[in-house]
């Protein structure tokens, strides 16, 4: 067992490694197992409160969906120009949210950024679950959801294939690929941890983990293949994640609508996706840290790094956002310009300014170390950033429909009714319910990688000594 008690080592560390330690490297490996496994034991009260609240929210969403299913989409107060409402806006929001898991996990993995290790697992879970939530929105949004399989390309007696020209089919394929790949990535990276669970579980759970861990024993051959495969999948995932959100952007960019027909939409969407995902990671980071007492692993230096990353992405997004406005303005297409002006001054001006404020000004809070280290402030800021990102999606969908090419069908002050509110709220319930379940079934902190982190620090210190 590695023990670092040498006073001299600590002194060296203090002198030559001025940056804050991401994690206390004096944690014993067995303690890591114990801490993480403890989070999967019988839940505390706080867990039940969050879980039941999520369940209730989800239940209400299901009720709204049933109501809408039985009556038709009119129940959601959609109309001729406003054909999409909040569903598509929230769909993009969830798709965007999913991107940070991949970013943290894959990009930082390739770059050997060790600080990702305690937090990437829940970020990946977030990716998976927000993709599943996004998928739900596709279904909720369909007028005839019972025929949704028409979009899938499969040989059938009708001899009719889906329309491969349609960005929606690209979407379906890209999201399907992304969901499959991220589930694979999440599970694959979890196999060593599942073996730990297997070794510590009893009864049915043992059987379950025994099945899932696929007989992992941590042999050198297993580790070698695992490393290569994990890195390869990570490499695949980065372009995939970029392609997914840029394809979602083509839903808009390919179309004729003023305000959508913009070349910079794909990078703009990707930046927005990473932005909202990072903000969501901060939120979940704080929640998990509190609920599961993960102070030892989800440490302040890691939060600090995540916040700095978020700030950087926020600035990228701000830039691309300004590029969008500037290109519309400079491009001088009267119709697109009118739509832009409508956003800034029309019925939705409040939301537009709020979006710009929350998206571009509030992130400056992340630039201050004192604020970064203040957990309540960060919780509020991260939620505000995500609200801003949701508003961004809302601003893309609703005002464009309200003020499109055709003046006769413009709408004023269109806002959804309770069914849409209910379903959107229900999606948060669904996401959070899945996430809470995940926390109790799977280890939310990657044990083996935290061990690696601790060990590498120890070795490095040894070497320096």
């Amino acid at each position: 067992m590695i023990q670092a008690t040498d006073e001299k080592d600590i002194e060296i560390e203090r002198r030559f490694v001025p940056k804050a330690k991401d994690i206390n490297d004096e944690i014993a490996w067995a303690q890591i197992n114990k801490d993480v496994l403890r989070s999967m034991e019988r839940p505390r009260l706080m867990y039940w409160v969050i879980f039941l609240a999520s369940l209730a929210l989800f239940g209400f969403g299901v009720y709204c969906e049933i109501y809408q299913y039985q009556n038709g989409m009119g129940a959601a107060d959609l109309n001729n120009p406003q054909v999409w409402g909040w569903y598509i806006a929230t769909f993009i929001f969830w798709i965007g949210m999913s991107h940070s898991g991949t970013l943290l996990s894959a990009i930082l993995h390739i770059m050997h950024a060790d600080w990702r290790k305690p937090i990437y697992r829940f970020a990946e879970a977030m990716t998976t679950f927000s993709l599943m939530t996004a998928g739900l929105f596709v279904l909720v949004h369909l007028g005839r959801v019972w025929e949704f399989y028409y979009v899938v390309a499969y040989p059938n007696e009708r001899w009719a294939w889906p329309n491969f020209n349609s960005p929606l089919v690209w979407d379906a394929t890209a999201i399907g690929t992304y969901l499959t790949s991220s589930i694979v990535f999440l599970y694959f990276g979890m196999i060593p941890d599942l073996a730990i669970c297997r070794d510590n579980a009893k009864g049915v759970r043992k059987k379950f983990y025994w099945l899932l861990s696929l007989g992992w024993q941590g042999t050198d051959r297993q580790w070698a293949n695992f490393r290569v495969a994990y890195l390869t999948v990570a490499c695949f995932l980065i372009p995939l994640a970029v392609s997914v959100h840029s394809i979602v952007a083509t839903d808009f960019a390919v179309s004729q609508q003023p305000g959508w027909h913009i070349t910079s939409f794909p990078p703009y969407f990707v930046a927005g996706a990473l932005y909202s995902g990072c903000a969501a990671i901060i939120t979940l980071f704080i929640v998990l840290r509190y609920v599961f007492r993960f102070e030892e692993y989800m440490t302040m230096p890691i939060l600090d790094k995540t916040c700095r990353l978020t700030f950087a992405i926020a600035m990228v997004w701000t830039y691309l956002n300004l590029v969008e406005y500037a290109s519309v303005w400079y491009g001088d297409d009267p119709v697109a310009k009118q739509t832009l002006l409508f956003r800034a001054t029309g019925d939705y001006a409040t939301y537009w300014w709020a979006m710009n404020f929350l998206g571009s000004v509030v992130p400056f809070a992340l630039a201050f170390k004192s604020l970064r280290n203040n957990i309540p402030v960060m919780l509020v800021v991260s939620l505000l950033l995500n609200l801003g990102m949701w508003l961004e999606r809302f601003m893309i969908v609703t005002p464009t429909f309200a003020h499109g090419y055709y003046p006769w069908t413009w709408t004023d002050h269109w806002m959804p009714n309770w069914v849409q509110y209910g379903i959107v709220a229900g999606s948060f319930g669904w996401f959070s319910m899945l996430f809470m379940l995940f926390c109790k079934i799977f280890p939310t902190v990657s044990m083996y990688e935290v061990k690696e982190m601790v060990y590498h620090r120890f070795v490095a210190r040894k070497a320096r000594a």
Binding site: Y405, P407, T409, T411
Partner: protein
């Protein structure tokens, strides 16, 4: 057809339309399940029915008095859709929205299917035998009613129904046929008669180079809108005619004008005389009128006229010079000019322009004198209703029969029609659907819809010669306990005058005999059967007659000193009700297609609204959707404000036709009824209700609601180049290939 010995189906078979009607009997049959049916082959279906193939039958539209020929598409015995009948001169193969909706009168879910008899406060469904028993007990052979004691109140009615109705009343020694039309053209007719000698001159719109219309909505609510629209289309082809419209509130016709002027309501006559004054500057016109008249026109200089009418002083000589340039012209007077206390003199002043411009015989002609004037309709009037109202009030009326009008809905509040009605001991309504008036009657007899019934019609406005329009059933009747109006009249007459009517088992045989009697007039050499079959197949019997000459009487035109419009400070706004081309006086408010069909000018559907000019609205801080209370001396109504630029700024306008309280699911609770706030102003010459003379005050109620309208928040094209406009002098219409409607 309980009372006829010969089944109607046999009649139809003779006429070669049996198939369409006969297969209907199978609808809703459950005897198949009980094993009572034999397997039938479709190899030899009924004559004229090919499963899956639509067949067209000619008939006549009864939705308004225009008498358009229509073709009904019938499939498997169901009438599906109406098209225009190309053989009809009036419709020319075209049809309006109102006509289309006739199928919804027929299939209306709120149609009356059984006779209703009053028991205490409520109407209860009874059998046809019982209903007829009650009717004949009062009005049959044993009836002792005479003269004034019986009254028949109808809307505009023509053809043999009108004849039977007169004969029925005659059997009581009565001539008490009261024809009421809430939107009565009576003032216009009187004025025309006084000036031209004809009530309704034939307008040659297509021949005019310039039309100056004072509120005449010939495209929307005129006497024959479909016919006029076709003429208008030709008018717009090379050489393109120019339309100038002067009215307080833009009508559909005004919306199509090359130049539209908003005029202060009631001052149309002043403007007309002002234009006449300007025209007299041209020497060739100076001779066309007498010296006294010319002298009387003196005070109508452009400044005075501009002051009174609100139209710029420059516009008056401008219009006059256009009239001088573009000859022949046509000057029209319309309801918004006529519906005032001085409406008659307004109309005659407008007609004077036609005389000065010598449009007689060019764009204005008399209707042909035809050989069956007894079939022509009597147009309705408000005065007739007043007389009936007085008779009822005095308790003179013992029996009141009502068909085709709804005075309980359309009569203004100051006319206590409903309470007077209760003084009549026996009230009978003939209707296809219960309305506000029928609900107050003692007996309601359900009529066949016009698509199930035979009939003959002669339109009040005959564009060329005369057309006897034939109406025939397009399908078997939907409800067994309904009956044609004509059939009921024949039944009653058989009681009253058995000898004269015993030869006619029903109305069908009556009109067939009557039409065949008229065969010599049509100079037909066909056999009777062929003549009748042709008449049914064509749906129209045409008689080409020369147009009558217009014999103008300038003496009818009295010109006084120019009078300024009244300004009432307590009621600062003029109230101009607008008539929608589809809902008219509200009789069509039960038809869902028409309710859903947006008003062309405001795009509002399913609702009432208050039109107010945007500048006025800004002054009063009124936004669209603000609920306004519109108050006159007789009452008030509440409706949402709609900002409408096509209105004179001192005027507000509300559409008529909505606000029903007992007219079925599609009409009830929709909007408000502005008939109820009309002030008791009457045209001084004719005694007609001055519909456009009401003055109101508007108050904000503080509520705001969403307008039920099709358009979005903008009414502008926003630079999108959707409707592109070309100046008339650029267009080369003569070079274009166009299809001209005939």
């Amino acid at each position: 057809m309980s009372s006829s010995k010969i089944d109607r189906r046999d009649f139809l078979r003779v006429l070669g339309i049996s198939g369409a009607a006969a297969t209907l009997a199978g609808c809703g049959n459950t005897s198949i399940e009980s094993g009572a049916e034999l397997v039938e082959s479709f190899v030899q279906p009924e004559d004229f029915v090919v499963p899956g193939v639509g067949v067209y039958y000619a008939s006549t539209c009864a939705q308004c008095g225009s008498g358009c020929g229509v073709m009904g598409r019938v499939r498997e015995g169901r009438v599906l859709k109406l098209e225009g009948n190309p053989k009809s001169v009036i419709s020319g193969g075209k049809i309006c929205g109102l006509g289309q909706a006739a199928v919804q009168v027929h299939y209306n879910p709120d149609r009356l299917t059984k006779p209703m008899l009053r028991e205490g406060d409520a109407l209860k469904a009874v059998s046809w035998e019982k209903a007829m028993g009650v009717l004949t007990a009062r009005l049959g052979s044993g009836s002792s009613l005479t003269g004034e004691q019986i009254a028949f109140l109808t809307g505009e009615v023509s053809g043999h129904q009108k004849v039977l109705l007169a004969n029925f009343l005659e059997s009581f020694g009565s001539t008490n046929h009261v024809v009421y039309d809430a939107l009565s053209p009576a003032v216009g007719h009187e004025a025309s008669k006084a000036v031209y000698g004809v009530e309704q001159p034939v307008l040659q719109i297509d021949k005019a180079r310039l039309i100056l219309s004072f509120g005449n909505d010939f495209l929307g609510t005129g006497p024959s809108p479909v016919h006029m629209a076709a003429q208008y289309a030709r008018f717009r082809k090379a050489p393109r005619g120019t339309l100038i419209q002067v009215e307080p509130r833009m009508t559909l016709t005004g919306a199509n004008a090359d130049r539209w002027y908003a005029i202060r309501p009631g001052t149309e006559g002043v403007l007309a005389l002002g234009i006449a004054h300007s025209l007299l500057q041209h020497p060739e016109y100076a001779h066309s009128i007498s010296q006294e008249l010319a002298a009387a026109l003196k005070p109508y200089d452009k400044e005075t006229v501009a002051e009174i009418t609100g139209i710029s002083a420059d516009a008056i000589p401008h219009i006059a010079s256009l009239l001088w340039e573009k000859s022949p012209s046509l000057v029209l007077s319309g309801p918004s000019a006529e519906g005032h206390v001085r409406g008659f003199s307004n109309a005659t002043a407008i007609h004077l322009l036609n005389l000065i411009l010598d449009n007689r015989g060019k764009t204005l002609q008399g209707q042909a004198n035809h050989p069956f004037p007894q079939l022509s309709p009597v147009s309705g009037s408000y005065a007739a209703l007043t007389r009936l109202n007085q008779a009822m009030s005095a308790g003179k009326c013992q029996a009141l029969l009502i068909a085709g009008c709804n005075p309980a809905f359309t009569a203004p509040t100051f006319v206590p029609f409903a309470s007077n009605m209760s003084k009549v001991p026996f009230k009978v309504a003939f209707t296809t659907q219960l309305d506000e008036t029928a609900r107050q009657c003692d007996l309601v007899l359900p009529l066949l819809s016009p698509l199930e019934d035979f009939g003959t019609h002669v339109a009040g406005y005959q564009p060329a010669g005369v057309e006897l329009m034939i109406q025939q059933p397009l399908m078997e009747k939907l409800y067994p306990e309904t009956k044609g109006f004509g059939d009921i009249l024949v039944d009653l007459l058989k009681q009253r005058k058995p000898d004269a009517y015993k030869a006619f088992p029903d109305y069908y045989s009556y009109i067939k005999t009557a039409v065949l009697k008229a065969k010599p007039v049509f100079k037909s050499k066909e056999s009777d059967d062929n003549f009748w079959e042709d008449a049914l197949r064509n749906g129209v019997l045409d008689l080409d007659l020369p147009a009558a000459q217009i014999d103008a009487k300038v003496s009818a035109i009295k010109v006084g000193a120019p009078q300024a419009a009244e300004t009432g400070m307590q009621y600062p706004f003029y109230f101009v009700p607008s008539v929608r081309a589809d809902l008219r006086d509200g009789r069509h408010a039960n038809l869902p297609w028409l309710q859903e069909s947006p008003d062309p000018l405001t795009s509002v559907a399913w609702d009432s609204w208050v039109e107010i000019h945007p500048t006025t609205a800004v002054q009063m801080q009124i936004r669209e959707g603000d609920v306004l209370e519109v108050q006159s001396t007789t009452g008030s109504v509440r409706a949402k404000a709609y900002l409408f630029p096509g209105i004179q700024p001192d005027t507000i306008s509300m559409p008529l036709g909505q606000g029903h309280t007992g007219y079925g699911r599609y009409a009830d609770g929709i909007g408000v009824n502005p008939f109820k706030i009309l002030d008791p102003n009457f045209e001084e010459q004719t005694g007609e209700l001055a519909m456009y003379a009401t003055r109101v005050i508007i108050k904000k109620t503080g509520e705001n609601a969403k307008m039920v309208k099709d358009e979005g928040p903008t009414t502008l094209q926003q630079g999108r180049k959707l409707v592109v406009t070309m100046a008339a002098d650029q267009a080369e219409l003569a070079k274009e290939i166009t299809r001209v409607a005939q």
